[in-house]
């Protein structure tokens, strides 16, 4: 039973990380209808930049904002120089460019930082503790805290601010939003900035949680997060978060308690195909 609770906590932490990575993808898909595969490369870059600053300054207070800033700039650059000029083409054109960009950035990380696995030995502000014999580590608590903070902030921005209203309007229909006086270019920039900043946080968190940073750390998240936005309902942020937690929990529990002969990474795709057969619009998607 103790193991079961530990696995649940573990699964929730993994689900949190999935949610943080996938949110950016869902936001971008919601507004531009582009499958932003290169988002996972932003996440990898975030981990590397965070680690680089941390290893020189030994403080996360500089590493986190530094990493977030560079990811925001990278995200906006990708949108401006790659996606925006390609919006007039069929959707596979930006998609292919995004995959190419993803592979290129991943390779660039490997060439610059080297192929070896780096450690991220950061100390976190939360101590480990145990409740009724169930061990809760400080890193797990940090993952929860960051996720809750990000989700709350995002909810506040989208639901309570004028900017959030503009974002929602633009995600319904860009042209209509523009005609109503919404600065759609600014909204798109901001969407990429927010998504990339969250990805940078996710990169640093994963680096610390597993104590490793490597150039292909974004590969599985890149494709798994695509499956997640499909399962959640394309462009539905709530659905995406829900799908992320379900997958994190489902994966962890299935792997530890059921003897399945498949790797954990294939599960997301199997779940996706099952969901699509049952409900083609995803869990919370609308037509």
């Amino acid at each position: 039973m103790q193991l079961f609770f530990e696995q649940i906590l573990n699964g929730l932490a993994i689900g949190s990380i999935y949610a943080l990575i996938t949110l950016g993808l869902a936001l971008v898909y919601g507004i531009l209808r582009i499958l932003h595969v290169a988002h996972a490369a932003v996440y990898t870059v975030g981990a590397y930049v965070g680690l680089a600053i941390y290893s020189r300054t030994s403080t996360l207070l500089l590493a986190v904002p530094g990493s977030m800033l560079s990811c925001v700039l990278l995200g906006i650059a990708i949108e401006r120089f790659v996606y925006f000029p390609l919006l007039k083409y069929p959707p596979y054109v930006p998609l292919i460019s995004s995959i190419a960009l993803f592979l290129g950035l991943e390779e660039l990380c490997r060439i610059v930082a080297g192929p070896e696995l780096l450690t991220f030995p950061a100390t976190l502000p939360f101590p480990s503790f145990s409740v009724a014999g169930v061990m809760v580590s400080g890193t797990t608590v940090t993952v929860y805290a960051v996720t809750i903070a990000v989700l709350a902030a995002l909810w506040f921005v989208t639901a309570k601010t004028e900017f959030g209203l503009a974002m929602r309007a633009a995600s319904l229909d860009m042209e209509v939003a523009s005609s109503l006086g919404v600065n759609s270019k600014l909204v798109v920039d901001a969407t990429f900035a927010i998504g990339s900043a969250i990805a940078s946080l996710a990169g640093i968190l994963v680096g610390i949680y597993y104590n490793q940073v490597y150039s292909t750390m974004g590969t599985m998240p890149a494709y798994k997060s695509l499956a997640l936005i499909v399962v959640g309902g394309m462009g539905s942020t709530v659905g995406t978060v829900l799908a992320s937690f379900l997958l994190g929990l489902g994966e962890t529990l299935l792997i530890s308690f059921a003897n399945i002969p498949l790797p954990r990474d294939a599960l997301a795709f199997i779940a996706m195909i099952l969901v699509l057969m049952w409900k083609p619009t995803g869990l919370l998607g609308k037509r």
Binding site: R33, I99, M234, L262, I270
Partner: protein, 296 residues
């Protein structure tokens, strides 16, 4: 000569798969990112049938094709019924799942892969390297003929219409699912053929040969050469196949250079080298016209 034959054979084999992907992406406009899965299914089918069931390559070939096309049908059907963005994602999923099945099932040799795949024999004599190259070239020629013929069939025209505008196509009496599925099955069949040839070329296969990066490289061939053109996938396979030989000294940067090449290509020339409004195609046409004019 042997080095040339080895490189040329793999290029020809990949060109066959690229032609198949071109039917799906170029003709029907459906983005598939899991083509390597069907390439792998053809390879494993032929490998298993020849090593474990004791069939010859020629007996195994129709069965392998049937298997890859049937799986293409079964896996394509749920993916093609949903929105077009989904197909890209579901095909990625198919690729990862198929690869996982090859790695995790002892029946398929597991992580060790399958070895001892026989060479192809014609009239009882085993083909040498250059003879096998010739055989692959014949299959490529047949593939190209089928592609060309497909564009002349009503189903091919239906695929074009769906690619251009699905809403309008369906109001012209075309069932979009049927059109897309026929392109998908034809394309996966070509991938299966290519895979079967690959198995007997490599004579040892493992799941890693059919992973997602291979799908990306096949898509790069189609995009680079020109989607929807007949010769585009050929040119693309040639370029992607020759590049690593040329850039051998830059091995470490190879993937980086590839991805940047693909990015620049799709960003500035989405139609590919032989596509419409392409600088290269314009140049080529100019030269051909001048030739024709001077010979007339």
């Amino acid at each position: 000569m042997d080095y040339f034959a080895t490189v040329a054979t793999i290029i020809v084999i990949q060109a066959i798969a690229a032609c198949g992907l071109n039917v799906i992406v170029g003709y029907a406009g459906q983005i598939s990112l899991g083509h390597a899965a069907f390439f792998g299914i053809g390879a494993y089918a032929s490998a298993m049938l020849t090593t474990k069931a004791g069939l010859t390559f020629w007996q195994a070939l129709p069965i392998s094709l049937l298997i890859s096309m049937s799986l293409g049908f079964l896996l394509g059907l749920p993916s093609l019924r949903v929105r077009e963005d989904f197909l890209a994602i579901t095909t990625i999923g198919i690729n990862f799942i198929v690869e996982a099945v090859f790695v995790y099932t002892p029946f398929f040799g597991g992580a060790l892969g399958l070895g001892g795949i026989p060479r192809v024999a014609v009239f009882g004599s085993r083909l040498g390297n250059s003879q096998f190259l010739a055989l692959c070239a014949v299959f490529l020629a047949i593939t190209l003929m089928i592609c060309r013929q497909f564009t002349r069939t009503w189903m091919g025209l239906a695929c074009f219409a769906v690619r251009e505008n699905e809403t309008a196509a369906s109001s012209m009496g075309i069932s979009p699912v049927r059109a897309k599925l026929s392109a998908f099955v034809l394309g996966t069949g070509m991938a299966g053929l290519s895979g079967a040839l690959y198995a007997h070329y490599a004579r040892f296969i493992s799941a890693g040969d059919f992973g997602f990066p291979i799908s990306i490289s096949m898509l790069s061939m189609v995009v680079l050469g020109g989607m929807g053109t007949l010769a585009g996938p050929l040119l693309g396979a040639l370029i992607i196949g020759v590049l690593p030989e040329v850039f051998r000294s830059l091995m470490d940067y190879r993937m980086f250079l590839y991805s940047m090449l693909l990015l620049l290509m799709i960003r500035f020339q989405p139609g590919g080298l032989l596509g419409e409004q392409s600088a290269a195609a314009g140049l080529l046409k100019g030269i051909l016209n001048r030739r024709r004019a001077s010979s007339a």
